[in-house]
């Protein structure tokens, strides 16, 4: 058993708006080991990005968060703002979908990476000279196989390609050496070949530095090649949790089955694609019972009345009455 890094217990998140309160995550339980790679898969509006933001200590002002998130034994939900600032970056690092948005467009790359070094040093109350910092930054960029690091430092974010900018963001993570890296759809803006390079890089970070990685995506095929464990979210609830390989080879929850079957594998002449009918649930009108019942093909009588809990079956946990 690996050491436990994060322990999430009964995490519920709701957003307060003028129209009322919407519950986005409901009693989520999850533990993440040190050095583990875990994927969070779900459709748009399944709550997967909310989970990432809360874990990174970035809950929006209108969010009401209940439960506890223990990071290395401390509950981050009770941190003061000052402690949270310290926590972000040094313990947890987040990569966003559009890398250009996470860099300052009017500062060159050197300025931004030097700032990262300064912030890290300020936290450890040491001070490294600008020359040392430059050497370190160049070493990191060389590690990431960025061609001609000296000239890249002089450039501005818009002068780099999408893959290069994403690697600059990774360079920040390498300088800060966080224990947990949260990647929220980091490859959606990248080409497939660059995406494959990026996944290689994440795996290298994971094996070399023992960094835990949470990979948030809507693409179950991508989750397959990027993680050991898989968490499937639907309507703010965990509906299946287990080893990635087992879930994809033999999905149990009807939603996960639909998700795996909807990926084109053959050709149009051999088989038709199976799609999940209906559309994702809306938070405005919460459903009774299982959140998936209006779209489910294997619906039982109690599905629309009582919501199933997490049921342990063989190698995983499933939220479905079929496996009771």
């Amino acid at each position: 058993m690996k050491n436990l890094l994060v322990e999430i217990e009964n995490l519920s998140v709701s957003y307060r708006t003028i129209m009322g309160e919407y519950q986005v995550l409901d009693k989520l339980n999850l533990s993440i080991g040190a050095g583990e790679r875990i994927s969070v898969v779900g459709e748009s509006a399944s709550g997967k990005s909310t989970l990432g933001h809360i874990l990174a200590g970035m809950s929006p002002p209108n969010a009401k968060v209940e439960g506890s998130i223990k990071f290395d034994g401390d509950n981050i939900l009770q941190f003061t703002e000052k402690r949270l600032t310290n926590f972000r970056g040094s313990k947890v690092f987040m990569i966003f979908q559009n890398p250009l948005n996470s860099l300052n467009p009017v500062k060159n790359i050197w300025h931004q990476l030097f700032e990262t070094v300064r912030i890290r040093d300020a936290k450890n109350s040491i001070k490294s000279s600008e020359d040392d910092a430059r050497k370190e930054v160049i070493a990191v960029l060389t590690d990431l196989r960025l061609p001609d690091p000296e000239s890249i430092l002089k450039r501005y974010p818009h002068e780099l390609s999408g893959g290069q900018v994403q690697r600059i963001v990774i360079a920040m993570a390498l300088i800060l050496k966080p224990k947990l890296l949260i990647a929220d759809e980091p490859t959606t803006a990248l080409d497939v070949t660059i995406q494959a390079q990026f996944l290689d890089l994440l795996k290298k970070l994971n094996s070399d530095l023992g960094m835990s990685i949470i990979f948030i995506t809507h693409d179950i095929a991508l989750a397959n090649s990027s993680s050991e464990r898989l968490l499937v979210l639907y309507g703010g609830r965990v509906i299946e949790l287990g080893q990635t390989e087992n879930i994809i080879r033999r999905p149990m929850h009807p939603y996960t089955i639909g998700l795996v079957e909807s990926i084109p594998a053959g050709t149009k002449n051999s088989s038709r694609l199976v799609s999940i009918p209906g559309s994702p649930p809306s938070y405005k009108h919460p459903l009774s019972g299982c959140k998936f019942h209006p779209r489910c093909a294997k619906i039982l009588e109690k599905c629309d009345k009582i919501e199933p809990g997490m049921i342990s079956v063989e190698d995983r946990q499933v939220r479905c009455w079929l496996y009771e």
Binding site: E43, S44, R145, S161, G163, Q164, D191, V192, T193, I194, Q195, A196, Q197, L199, D200, H218, D219, I220, A221, L222, N224, S225, S226, E245, I248, G258, L259, V260, S262, I263, P264, A265, G266, T267, K268, R272, L273, V274, S275, I276, S279, P280
Partner: protein, 313 residues
């Protein structure tokens, strides 16, 4: 063989920076982006052709030239056997329509669905509108008075497809129609596309970066790299035995549910302002030879597939 479109060594260059009076007075040389270079290709009637490639490979440029949104810089384009000039555009536009990547931005948010649907026709024809909405699985009475914001992403994309269908075109250009959608929605859209292709005997140009979607839908596949056609032929042949190293790497770098291993080519897509000499893929190719750096490989037919590579040449 019946072809709807034929391209003969078509080139498309874009000006990379503004060239105004000052630049002309100073006799600065214009800088061009070589988006498409010596592209020869023919599109068969009634087939689905997938254009596969990374961003900057020129696949959208081809779609735009076909849709007569852009003029080629040089080379000739034949539509249904006759050479195209700009005065033929209105006639060609009647025979084709286009579906874009992001449905929400391609439909006017202030128009109701019935208005949006009759816009390509010029007048409101209830029978035609009803028929094409029905073929994408939407009911006319339910959606007629709605605005795009009231519909989900998948529904809006279905409206966009119905809208492309309403004037009964021969050719539909689909520019990444499913990449903004969730997987379960994508499956729905792909099924609809296959149904209406059979029903109306349509020709599709399917522009995508997703090889598994191309595999599912396409009869023929054209692989583009940095503005050049590198491999072109029957989908089955290309996917089961890719001959060009780029196609091989492209297929290997796509994550699938059946295998966990992916491998990536090194390096980035080259700059199109100063494209590499010789074969444009030589900077990333694992099998690069001396010849590749100097001479550009011609497109030759090997085993029913056109390939541009010096390997086994």
């Amino acid at each position: 063989m019946n072809e709807i479109y034929r391209f003969e060594s078509v080139k498309k260059y874009y000006l990379a920076s503004r060239r105004g009076l000052l630049e002309m007075a100073l006799r600065k040389k214009p800088v061009y982006v070589h988006a498409l270079e010596d592209f020869s290709f023919s599109l068969e009637t009634g087939k689905v052709t997938a254009m596969v490639g990374e961003s900057g490979s020129g696949k959208t440029t081809i779609g735009k030239i076909m849709a007569t949104i852009e003029n080629p810089t040089s080379g000739s384009v034949y539509f249904k056997g006759t050479k195209v000039s700009s005065k033929d555009y209105p006639r060609i536009r009647k025979d084709l329509s286009m579906v874009f990547q992001n449905p929400a931005t391609s439909l006017n948010p202030r128009m109701r669905i019935s208005e949006l649907m009759s816009e390509p026709l010029g007048n409101f024809d209830k029978d035609k509108v009803e028929e094409s909405l029905q073929s994408v699985g939407l009911s006319f009475d339910e959606v007629r008075n709605k605005q795009p914001k009231e519909l989900s992403g998948g529904q809006i994309q279905r409206i966009a497809i119905a809208r492309a269908l309403v004037k009964h075109p021969d050719l539909i250009i689909l520019d990444e129609p499913t990449s903004a959608l969730d997987e379960s929605m994508q499956a729905q859209i792909l099924n609809i596309l296959i149904d209406i292709q059979e029903q109306f005997h349509l020709t599709y140009i399917f522009i995508t970066h997703n090889i598994s979607v191309a595999k599912y839908l396409a009869d023929t596949i054209s692989v583009l790299y940095a503005g050049k056609l590198v491999e072109n032929g029957p989908a089955q042949k290309i996917l089961s035995a890719p001959q060009h190293p780029y196609t091989q790497l492209l297929i290997k770098s796509v994550p699938t549910v059946s295998s966990r291993e992916i491998s990536a080519p090194t390096g980035d897509v080259p700059s199109l302002i100063n494209p590499p000499t010789g074969c444009r893929f030589h900077t990333r190719c694992p099998f690069v030879m001396e010849k590749c750096r100097q001479e550009e490989p011609p497109l030759v037919v090997r085993d029913e597939v056109e390939v541009a590579c010096w390997l086994d040449a």
